[in-house]
Amino acid sequence: MAYNILIVDDSQTMRAVLTKTIDMAGIEVGKVFEAENGKEALGVLEKEWVDIVFADINMPVMNGVEMVEEMVKLGYIETTPVIVISTEGSKTRLDSLRSMGVRGFLRKPVSPELFKSVVDGVLSGRAGGEGGAPAGGAAEGSGESGDVFKI
């Protein structure tokens, strides 16, 4: 199964590194979408089917926490798993993100092995899929959630 992926990070370099890490981790990828901030990411989610979102926290315009809050309001968080990849180390903030529905957390820098284990854990917890409707449409999901936080 090939997954459509959305990478949300204000650093062009980090988006390129993550794309490479996804490739090295052997994850089968359909389309890779990129966004520089949460606002852009919400725009992508409105139009495109995305199987998994990798998001930074510290970004201009709309940060990762604000993006997740919007995804909760719009109902996207139930159908589109989010893995936060950040320098963030605050357990308090991570607990808050987890309670909002974020399924996984990885701390930068990320090794391909750890990346794969977290992504596999998150994706195995849902029956999301190739194709289908955008997150803003009538998306189908199992409602089950993998929840993998690695600090």
């Binding site: 370099t13 390129a16 950040s86 180390g89 605050s90 308090t92 820098p109």
Partner: protein, 157 residues
């Protein structure tokens, strides 16, 4: 945390992050012997943080080291155009990761900090004292024959 402890944490975090992020193995350099002329052809990035403590990080690295940083992060050769295009952004991202890791190491997992987006700018006079800083530490490194300087300033609340 006193200045010595802070310096030790900054030193340790920088070495770990640069190794994990870009396979760069840094050696600490003695501040007294550091030649500032070595960082004239450099890029400099800075970012601020606020929360239980307020402060600012600066990092300055030789331009060629920035190329190496970008190329190692991306798994490409330093002479490729892509490495050139990412060199400054790679330095910003390295600082972002160093700052995030430092804050957890220094203030613990319960503390919540807000981080500004890292900014790249012209090289500043890092030896100049910041009068507003309550505490300041500067760490000097050498890796692959290039210089790297990291400065942390902690401000009064």
């Amino acid at each position: 945390m006193d200045k010595t402890q802070m310096s030790m944490v900054v030193d340790s975090v920088c070495k770990i992050i640069l190794e994990e992020l870009a396979f760069l193995f840094c050696e600490s350099q003695d501040a007294a012997n550091f030649d500032y002329t070595h960082i004239k052809d450099a890029h400099e990035a800075s970012m601020e943080f606020s929360g239980p403590q307020k402060g600012k990080f600066n990092i300055a690295a030789d331009q060629k080291l920035c190329l190496l940083l970008a190329s190692n992060m991306l798994g490409i050769e330093p002479d490729e155009d892509m490495a050139q295009a990412h060199a400054r952004d790679a330095l910003k991202e390295a600082l972002n990761v160093i700052c995030g890791r430092f804050l957890t190491e220094a203030y613990g997992e319960e503390a919540i900090f807000n981080l500004s987006a890292p900014q790249i700018g012209d090289i500043s006079d890092l030896s100049k004292v910041d009068a507003g800083a309550e505490m300041e530490c500067m760490q000097f490194f050498e890796t692959e024959g290039y210089c790297l300087v990291v400065r942390l300033m902690i401000y009064k609340p």
